[in-house]
């Protein structure tokens, strides 16, 4: 499944598909078959897109969302990796806590969002806490998985050669678990981003998500589409960047 991502054929199909969608959008929206509110004309959306890129309000909202994501991701990483390390090192703790954490992750945390807003206020803190909660689970589950699935012989060999706890961590545990942990960090970051956007849309004062909602409520669909395109591009950029970084972490193990 991963192989087709790098395939030029697949890329070409994707590019053609996007081009076809844009072309369809252009013709449907300029033909007058549908209302401007439902599907604004593509040229106007593109104009607006270029315009918002040149003005400040986009960057303000982008900075707010990016700050929230950075905070949420840091909190989730620190908690997730440390808890994952300590749980993953003990076989009993893995058996006890891994299903509990996986079960908690199956609960739709989104229903707690009103409580997050109640506890942390409507501004950035509630988004940070919510994003951190969602990002925590993939990170901690992957950390537990990565650490606990290390071949115990590696640990025994390192110990018998006289490695202390720090050396064991740096030379054996970390390199062996890093690919799995890196996957968890990537998924956590993406989920954190999406949940921050979602929580901004449901209740928020600033940030990209609440900007989109404000525009939707004002029936300003031209600018709303411009913002949606911008956020989709941002998400794609984030995804590509994280996938590249993750590939670098796991490169030494996956070389044929």
């Amino acid at each position: 499944m991963n192989g087709i991502r790098g395939d030029w054929q697949a890329r070409a199909i994707q590019v053609l598909f996007v081009a076809a969608i844009l072309l369809l959008w252009y013709y449907v929206s300029t033909s007058g078959l549908v209302g401007v509110i439902f599907l604004p004309p593509l040229p106007r959306v593109i104009d607006k897109f270029l315009q918002i890129i040149q003005t400040g309000s986009l960057y303000y909202n982008l900075a707010v969302t990016a700050y929230e994501l950075a905070m949420a991701f840091s909190i989730a990483s620190i908690l997730g990796l440390s808890i994952g390390y300590f749980v993953g090192r003990s076989r009993i703790a893995v058996v006890i806590f891994e299903p509990l954490l996986a079960g908690l992750f199956a609960v739709p945390i989104i229903v707690f969002l009103p409580l997050f807003i109640l506890f942390f206020g409507i501004d950035m803190q509630s988004k940070i806490a919510f994003g951190a909660t969602y990002a925590f689970f993939p990170i901690v589950l992957n950390a537990i998985g990565g650490i606990s699935q290390i071949d115990p012989r590696l640990i025994i060999v390192a110990r018998s050669m006289g490695a202390n706890e720090g050396q064991l961590f740096r030379r054996v545990l970390l390199p062996a678990a890093l690919p799995v942990i890196a996957t968890g960090l990537r998924i956590g970051c993406i989920i954190g981003f999406l949940s921050i956007l979602g929580s901004e849309m449901i209740a928020g004062l600033r940030g990209l998500g609440s900007r989109i909602v404000t525009l939707a409520e004002g029936m300003n669909t031209v600018e709303m589409f411009a913002y949606i395109i911008f956020v989709i591009l941002m998400a794609a950029l984030l995804n590509v960047t994280l996938t590249r970084m993750q590939a670098r972490f796991s490169a030494p193990r996956e070389q044929p």
Binding site: Q14, I92, V111, P114, I228
Partner: protein, 276 residues
């Protein structure tokens, strides 16, 4: 048993023996230990809720249970539960039917795979939450937008899992079936489908939580009924016990659904001895 043997001192022999005893018990019955953790956490929450925490925010479990009859005897809440349930079931049925109808051809047919899979992955990579206002714009403020948003969240796990499942069918089995004279339909019915079942159920599980997430997100965003609406209403009116009891029931439902699919999965793949 790869545990590193604990270096115990003789001085604290009795306590280590007790701990070893507990450790052995928990190792043999991890479910028991899990329940113990849950009970300890609930008790700690109860004690903390009665003493240090502000009951107006994180209400203790006892007050949540106390609030349950009040919340669920409310006619509005009952209607909301049914509304959400209806949206969830409708979306899930659409997800399963459409997901299988899209996933099987993509997995079975090489050309379809090469031409459609990039599109599926492209669509899957769109952050759907950003287009939530579009769903409301096109499907209205009622149940339609919730169902559509649930479908858009749930359908991709099913498609991806079915495609992966179909492609994991061993070629030797297909060749064996064909050499024994199976038609294309027979080899799909007798070889491919049984192989796909485990990953189909894994996909069903992911699709269920995805659909639930989509429906709830849309309900929280804008709605006049449904669980999302009430959980927001209770929180807005500073009634955390009511919110928690609603959420507790919902979480319980999610876990039950999850376990049901998991049990069905185990039943359907009983013949796979190498994959317990």
């Amino acid at each position: 048993m790869t545990e590193i043997p604990a270096a115990n001192d003789a001085s604290s022999a009795s306590s280590t023996m007790l701990r070893a005893e507990a450790g052995r018990l928990f190792r043999r019955h991890p479910g028991l230990a899990r329940i113990a953790v849950i009970i300890v956490a609930t008790l700690a929450w109860e004690v903390a809720g009665d003493t240090i925490l502000d009951p107006d925010f994180l209400s203790p479990p006892s007050s949540i249970i106390h609030a349950m009859p009040r919340v669920f005897s409310d006619a509005g809440v009952q209607k909301a539960l049914w509304a959400s349930f209806y949206e969830l079931v409708t979306a899930f049925v659409i997800v399963v039917i459409a997901g299988i109808a899209i996933g099987l051809p993509i997995g079975l047919h090489g050309f379809t795979f090469r031409s459609s899979m990039p599109l599926v992955l492209l669509l899957y990579s769109i952050p759907q939450v950003t287009i939530l206002p579009l769903f409301v714009l096109y499907f209205g403020i009622g149940a339609g937008s919730k169902i559509a948003f649930g479908v858009s969240h749930g359908i991709f796990p099913i498609i991806l899992n079915i495609v992966a499942g179909v492609q994991s069918v061993e070629q030797a089995h297909l060749i064996a079936a064909r050499s024994m004279g199976a038609t294309r339909f027979q080899s799909i019915r007798r070889v491919v489908l049984p192989h796909v079942t485990p990953s189909l159920f894994a996909g069903l599980r992911l699709a269920m939580s995805g659909t639930l997430l989509g429906v709830l997100l849309a309900e929280l965003y804008v709605s006049t009924g449904g669980i999302g609406y009430y959980s927001r209403l209770f929180a807005d009116s500073f009634d955390p016990p009511a919110t928690f009891s609603l959420v507790a029931v919902l979480a319980f439902m999610a876990i039950v659904l999850n376990e049901t699919v998991r049990i069905a999965e185990r039943r359907a793949s009983f013949w796979r001895t190498h994959r317990t």
